[in-house]
Amino acid sequence: MIAIIKYWRGPLFWLALLLLAVFCMGQFEFLFRQLTPDAAEVIYHRESFAQLLLNHLLVVAVAACLAIIIGVLAGVVVTRSWGRDFLPLVSQVASIGQTFPPVAVLALSVPLLGFGDLPTIFALMLYGLLPVLRNTLAGLQGVAGSTLEAARGIGMSPLQVLLQVELALASPVILAGIRTSVTITIATAAIGSTIGASTLGNPVIAGLVNGNTAYVLQGAVLIGLLAVCVDSTFERIQHGLALRYGG
């Protein structure tokens, strides 16, 4: 038990800070007051921070899950012998897509899906897809030819080769892609507030519109803490995986 806590102490620390910020923001009113002495209100109250956090997480979770499923599947398909024709196309799309600013994706999805959570999820999913796809391709292509020949040569079925050998060996690289994707998604989800999704971006946007620096800071701190918390969790998972595969 102690060993487990010790192993996860990084993420636990950030989680504790995050929860503190969510539930005890009011305690720090005096600090924010320094920042905006003239404002009528210094703590954002339109929605509770817990509610915003939950919705933010929901948007991120749905978008990230879709991105991971689609990204990994696409990566697998185009590296099979029957899907190889699409490999150049897909890897090109993956690299071009990465140069597209997320705000542009967001803006483009509004005419398609209207305002709210849905276009935000769609845009986040598209944007988060790319790191997953790119790393899945790199991971699968990095598996040595001799390992694959041996796997087939000893009589594994194509599915067994994929699951037990290819994906298992590529998993650290794929996981690194997922980590990047999720972290980007958490940060980018805040922009969803501009098109009507209710996220931790709400205080930021409200603060910018009303010239209330305290609101902006509260939103930014929460987004930052959430991102660090999730990122450090991934770091621990990757660390564990590396240990298991005997460095």
């Binding site: 001799s146 390992t147 041996a150 796997a151 040569g153 000893i154 009589g155 594994m156 595969y245 005997g246």
Partner: protein, 318 residues
Amino acid sequence: MSDAAMIELRNVSRQFGDITAVDKLSLRIEKGEICVFIGTSGCGKSTTLRLLNKLIDCSSGEIWVDGEDVASLDSKLLRRRMGYAIQSTGLFPHWTVERNIGVVPRLLGWPADRIDARVRELLELLSLPYATFVHKFPSQLSGGQAQRVGVARALAADPDILLMDEPFGALDPITREALQNELLRIQSHIHKTIVFVTHDIDEALRLATRIVVMDKGRIVQHDTPENLLNNPVNSFVEDLLGQGERGLKRASLERVEDFMLPLGAAGLPSLSIEAGSSLRQALSLMLWQRADLLCVRDQAQVPLGILPISALLQSKSS
């Protein structure tokens, strides 16, 4: 279907685009043989091996294994009946030695305790101490150890046929010879049908019951090591055998006990050699010690006969 051939190729060809990697190959490999393929790089040895376990398909011709046309067999099931060891070992880097060796038995659904017993047995057979190696990952093994594990994995499910593509390549001569001896020792217990690819003519002469010399996808000569040395069909085979060394190569296949003379009334020569040694070793000893007579003894040092240098020049007795 002709009787007794474990593996039979009939007019087998395989093209890759314009390249004909294997060209109308016909060949019979009998049960219990060690058939060694040798030839220049790119002559189609590995391709032939991959045709046998259906990693690639024939462009034309038929391959029969143990009385069945492989075209009609499920490739997974066929491969699980054939051990496959390759030069680069192809060990799974994310699995321990134990899991690597046990992979085919696991695919075949053996119970865990039987797999464990088999892994122990194989590690012992290949002189890898169980406790030291069982939990190691491939990256923690030396080249020779990894190749042993590769051979152990090929043997794990006790297949009738072993396909080995330069399994001892890229090893130093001493480790290589140790592994060759191990293979011969193991083979004397288990009597598999082994198809073995090598670049090394000495390895071929040492291991083979019959050697297949290949060039440009065709068989140049298919013969026993003795016949290959005594009657190479053309200059290609002669070159492969290394012209200047042919006498020594043949001598390394011949055993002292087949050439020794009965013990005479005269006293025993002071220099001794074991009956199972090769004529090459005997000759080397004579040259080194500048002696023309050796005493032949068995493993318990009991004198069995004498070997004068003139006896080396006789054709084989028996």
